[in-house]
């Protein structure tokens, strides 16, 4: 094998020229991005930029009209969503997608639906409770009774239950208080460090940039900007332009 295969192995998710939409309406135009093994990538964009659509198209919940998706070098374009789960992809959906009438423990187990090995499920639960102690406390409460932040933690914990290689997180900060946003982001960063999970985090909240190794900016369904390393941290100013077309008013700073 040549050097090329090494880079291929390092690239976990590769999205190339993705086009998608709803019915006759095209939302994504030639979107390309990639996530390397163990890396945290932020996909930034404003309301309506197409962020959620990207995740839906990657995971096969939405039909792609063009483009390729590769996972660890294998072409998974058009593969059914459940087969992606088996290959180590987990989605933490926007709005948390809790089953409100099931308990915390039951919701967690749902995340391990594709896992056959009972011992592995028990181990994954134990790990989740260790990472998110509040969930252990509320284990037997209905998920609908959790606060927004706790539901978001449960959603992330549930995503990790299948022991994924890649975690796709859609707007984890939605409706969270500043401190809870920080907590959830820190937990995601922790999980990534300790479990070596690659994370693609989709956000409007620029705080996500503090955690990311690389970032892409989506605008009207197109990738309009990308950055790597320290440039990510400097992206805030550029993003402001992209979102606002003007500097943020002093009062909002």
């Amino acid at each position: 094998m040549s050097a090329a295969s090494v880079t291929e192995a390092e690239t976990l998710l590769e999205v190339e020229g993705l086009c998608s939409g709803y019915g006759s309406l095209q939302v994504l135009f030639d979107v390309s991005l990639d996530v390397r093994v163990g890396e945290m990538v932020a996909l930034m964009g404003s309301n309506g930029a197409g962020k959620t659509t990207v995740l839906r198209a990657i995971t096969g919940l939405l039909r792609r009209s063009a483009g390729r998706v590769r996972l660890a070098g294998d072409d998974v374009t058009g593969a059914p969503t459940e087969s992606l789960v088996a290959r180590g992809v987990a989605l933490v959906p926007e709005g948390r997608g809790m089953l409100r009438d099931l308990t915390v423990a039951e919701n967690l187990e749902l995340g391990a639906y594709a896992v056959r090995d009972r011992a592995a499920i028990v181990e994954a639960s134990a790990r989740a409770y260790a990472t998110f102690p509040i969930l252990a406390e509320r284990k037997h409460q209905k998920a609908g009774r959790l606060s927004g932040g706790q539901q978001q933690m449960l959603a992330v914990a549930r995503g990790l239950m299948s022991n994924p290689r890649l975690l796709l997180v859609d707007e984890a900060s939605l409706g969270l208080s500043p401190i809870m946003t920080e907590t959830v982001f820190d937990l995601i960063a922790d999980v990534r460090r300790t479990a070596g999970v690659a994370v693609l985090i989709v956000e409007q909240n620029a705080a996500a940039l503090d955690l990311a190794d690389r970032a892409f900016v989506l605008e009207k369904g197109q990738v309009v900007d990308r950055a790597e390393g320290d440039a990510v941290r400097n992206m805030q100013g550029r993003l402001r332009e992209a979102y606002l077309g003007r500097p943020t008013p002093e009062i909002e700073r």
Binding site: N47, G149, S177, P178, I179, M180, Q204, N205, R253
Partner: protein, 612 residues
Amino acid sequence: MPSRVASAIAVAVAVGGSLLLGNVKLSILVGVGVTAIAALGLDVLVARTGQLSLAHAAFLGVGAFTAINVGSRGAPWPVAILAAVIVTSAAAILTGLPSLRIRGLQIAITTLAFQEFAEEFLFSRNDVTAADRTLSRPSFLHSDVRLYLFALAALALVLLVRYRLSVTKAGRSFLAVRDIEDRARCFGVEPGQSKLLAYAISGAIVGLAGSVLALKAGSISAKDPFLLLESLQLVAIVVVGGAGSAAGIVTAAVLVKGLPQFSSTIPLTHLRAVRIVPIASAALLVVAIVAAPQGIGGLYRAVGRFLDRRLGARGRARPEPRPRPTDAVAAAHGAATLRLVPRPLPLRMPVPALLEAREVRVAYGGVTALDGVSLEVRRGEIVGLIGANGAGKSTFFNAVSGLAPVKGSIRYRGVELVGRAASSRSALGAARTFQDLGLLRAETVAENVLLAQTWLARYPAAAGIVGLGSALRTERELRRRAGLALELFGLGHLASERLGDLPYGTMRIVEIASAVAAGPDLLMLDEATAGLGPDESHALGDRFLAVRDELGLTLVVVEHHVPLIARVCDYAYCLESGVLIAEGKPDDVTAQPQVVESFLGRADAATGRGLG
């Protein structure tokens, strides 16, 4: 455009075709018409309220026998029909009573009980079936062609009723009760009333079908057309036709009911010998459901969309799915008339507080969500309510809007709210939004804004269905208001978009616009900027100031975006674990150590949200 052409063709075929067919075939067609009308009646329940009835064949029997009983005793035919409609409607309401407590499959089982009762008891009594009597047709219906045209007219009437239902408050309320029952009460929808009305309308339509059947048959001795199997067939017709699609259901009625009978008029002795027709139609049913889960109606819609694209008939370009930037103050000025709504209660405010909560306690099961919260909101203020997730902010809104069990006192304009029904509170002038969107995603933006104004639609629901001028005028006024409210938030261009197709943040702004359209004094917004980027959050802040200054609204906003709170709020309260831990000017509140610890986190977290 294609749908109008298609309707015109359908009417032409239905009317013109009758002249070409013989009497036997016309008589079959009248039977198909009866089935179609009954299925359309069932569909009112299935599509609009999400409830399944297994008793509609029994209702058809109730209608037919009532018409025969009344008509054969010398009453003029319109009276017989009216009696059938009223009695069947009453039977349906009776059957629907349990729906006030239960829903889904359970309610289907209670309808099954009525079906059994009708089959075993009602229809085996001679005084009910009037087996010895005959309803003679009025002279103008003596020919089969005329009876057929009469059935068509009845069908047209039902289609008109269904249309009216979809454009007036009754239809909207049904959908809301189906999908968002609790939230709908905050719009002034009364779920119990809505459910029974749905049964009443459904029953009335089936009663009409029954009376057409009575006119056709004259007298009915066998109870075959009214058995459970027929009820199930009506359900099948609704499913194959596509719930909610009148054209699909009529087509399905022709296919399911008409084809087998027509085939029996054709001498296919060999084929019938091997019972090919029932087998073929069973197979066709399965194929149809698998190939078109949305039913025949779904196919029609797909064809319509295809033709639209092909004909390029002004191929409607989809508008930008985000709010359009407009001058907030000018827009609010234009929308100022939204406040001109009649209030059932006079203004009684000895103190300047518009909303005054005293020692409010809310406990769910063993969990205390609010523990003795006292706060007040003065008229014309924008008050921020901040606090950690789970602190009790949304619970406070639930307490004010009547969705949580409250101990303590909440006075609004000097009137005690505790103990008042949620559905009556919007009329007092308190409107709200929900953290996780309390609207109908499958409906258009405009339809949702109309729904939010239900308390303003004070005409009787029946007046809307009959199409009384006053009801239609009210609806026009509500539409005007909806337009104003949408313009106010830069959403005018999205009025006819399906809400669920919009970006999440935009849906949230639609919900705010809906709340404003209801003409409240007090607007309670739960996480108004969730899902919005910094630019849209900033623009929304401008709207808050504008609706306060130009429309004179008072606002309470639950918000995590601290810069926004600091910019627009006059006063702020901070909750933690159901208890108030701080209040005062926003800057003072967010500077308090306890607030920083429980809500803000790191000192720089205030700037964490968004880019501002």
